[in-house]
Amino acid sequence: MNQDIFVLVEHLRGQVADITYVALAQAQSLAVETGGKVIAILFGGNAVELSKNLAADIVLHVESPVLAEYTCDAYAGALTGLIKEKSPRAVLVGDTTIGAEVAGVLSARLGMPLISNCVSVKGGRFSAKICGGKMMVEGELPAEPVLVAMVPGGFKVEQGQAAKAPEIKTSPVPDLSGVRVTFKRYVEPESGDIDITTQRILVGVGRGLQNGDNLELAEELAEALGGAVCASRPVVDQGWLPTTRLVGKSGKAVKPKLYLALGISGAPEHTETITGSEMIIAVNTDPAAPIFNLARYGAEVDMLDLMPALSEAVRKAKGG
């Protein structure tokens, strides 16, 4: 084992994911402790363009038609070869729709311990967020080479960005002839709906909505406020709102001036994508809901009682 830290660069359609910069920031801090280098692993894509602001000592670029678009099978296959050859101290990925599964497969394949939901690693200890953000856990970083799947919270995106482009090294193409998954095409999100990422005011509804019929109350409130309704995963899963309104890890990140979080507990999957909001007001009957740790204002009332009262108060304030 050497002391280098690998970071898997996650990119889709020419865009590096924010979590990659978070992982690079973590890697930089870890590399200071280990005395190793930060090596960004980049599969496919335009290496010069994608690498330009990565805070890494070296970018290891592997180019192959099989790696042109992400599949777990191909990424895990290519990483297996690199990890075996270079034996890094740690491999950092995002705990995302890409990194989580790559890390899982590699952990089973290579017998490397895996820490997921990781917020930070410092001084040989990790801290991670579980139970929808209601619990933090800590422990020692395993002594052997380790896989770490990062979530936001410990580092800022800017900390993983550099002004100067790192050196790009091209790595030989591994044998990926046994890949069993083929990328076919991208399917664009449904269009024709409003774009929640451009709204000034968002009324976010969660599990506390209880029933699709109650959506009308949220729509009424959003209309009074001049905003739009968006939702956390359970509401979209129930089919009460389309995926275009989903705020979260597999939905959209939003940055409104006001985010009214109604009946949303504040699981990391959701909160990670609302941190850009200028002000969050949270309403939840559960005093332990993690959303209250993020919101500037909170109220412990039932959203179903509050929505009509708030719509009325807004209309009154507007003189209507």
Binding site: A108, M135, E138, G139, S250, K252, L258, A313
Partner: protein, 254 residues
């Protein structure tokens, strides 16, 4: 088409979570166990596929309090075989231990597809589906919200941020981590579950000693210490509404 669905039970986050005396784990006496939500979607997806193309659905659950209820509810939805995994889960059951325990059982079942929920909220060592897939030497795709089988291949839709999806083709057998089923998990009335309890059988499968290696050891668990907590607005609902409006006005948003 044979579909195996290993599910997990997780603490209900609606209940208060209490750390036990060791300071390293949840106080299990206070935990109410429920099916992990993505696993509920995995069952639904399997049933939808069975309804469309026929086949067999086998649901497995570790022997936690409430496991029988989860299994019988799956049978009431249309699952054909119910398997409860028994063993010593006293020290908790991490994803690696569960995937290793499932491996020989699922291998013997010889499935075309393994569907699991893509994640659990209390997992600290990766998705069970990805680990199990690798132990079974079959491909894995996670965050899947749509599956259709054509011959010995499946066409799946994988979710990416921003509502973007990717269509991928995978050769069978394969394991898929389901984020959401094509339609919301169906509701089954208690009366139907009670009926099923009389006619269905839960098979016990003892997995012996567990091997939890591959996960980091937790030495401390605590609720998050927040640097800042929301300023709470108190009063009756109407008062809260008026105060919120005042705050919004202060921000110049009304």
């Amino acid at each position: 088409m044979k579909i195996v669905v290993p599910v997990q039970l997780v603490p209900d986050l609606v209940e208060e979570l209490v750390v036990d005396k060791s300071g390293k784990a949840l106080d299990l006496d206070t935990v109410r166990w429920i099916i992990s939500e993505p696993d509920d979607h995995a069952i639904e997806q399997a049933i939808l596929m069975k309804e469309k193309d026929g086949g067999e659905v086998i649901v497995l659950a570790p022997d936690f309090e409430g496991a029988d209820d989860v299994l019988f509810a799956a049978a009431a939805k249309g699952a054909d075989r119910l398997v409860k995994i028994t063993g010593d889960f006293e020290g908790g059951l991490n994803a690696h231990a569960l995937a290793r325990a499932l491996h020989p059982l699922v291998k013997d079942m010889n499935p075309d597809l393994v569907l699991t929920g893509v994640q659990t909220h209390n997992g600290l060592d990766g998705p069970v589906g990805a680990l199990l897939a690798e132990y079974l030497q079959i491909p894995y795709i996670g965050y899947v919200s749509n599956v259709s089988v054509q011959g010995n291949k499946a066409l799946v839709s994988k979710d990416y941020p921003g509502g973007l999806k990717a269509e991928m083709e995978v050769s069978l057998p394969a394991a898929l981590g389901i984020s959401s089923a094509e339609s919301a998990p169906r509701y089954v009335p208690i009366s139907k579950i009670r009926m099923v309890m009389k006619t269905s059988k839960v098979e016990d499968q003892d997995v012996g000693d567990l091997d939890p290696s591959g996960a980091a050891v937790v030495t401390r668990m605590s609720p998050p210490e927040s640097a800042e907590r929301a300023t709470m607005i108190t009063g009756k609902v109407d008062d809260v509404a008026v105060k919120i409006v005042a705050i919004i006005q202060e921000q110049g948003l009304l």
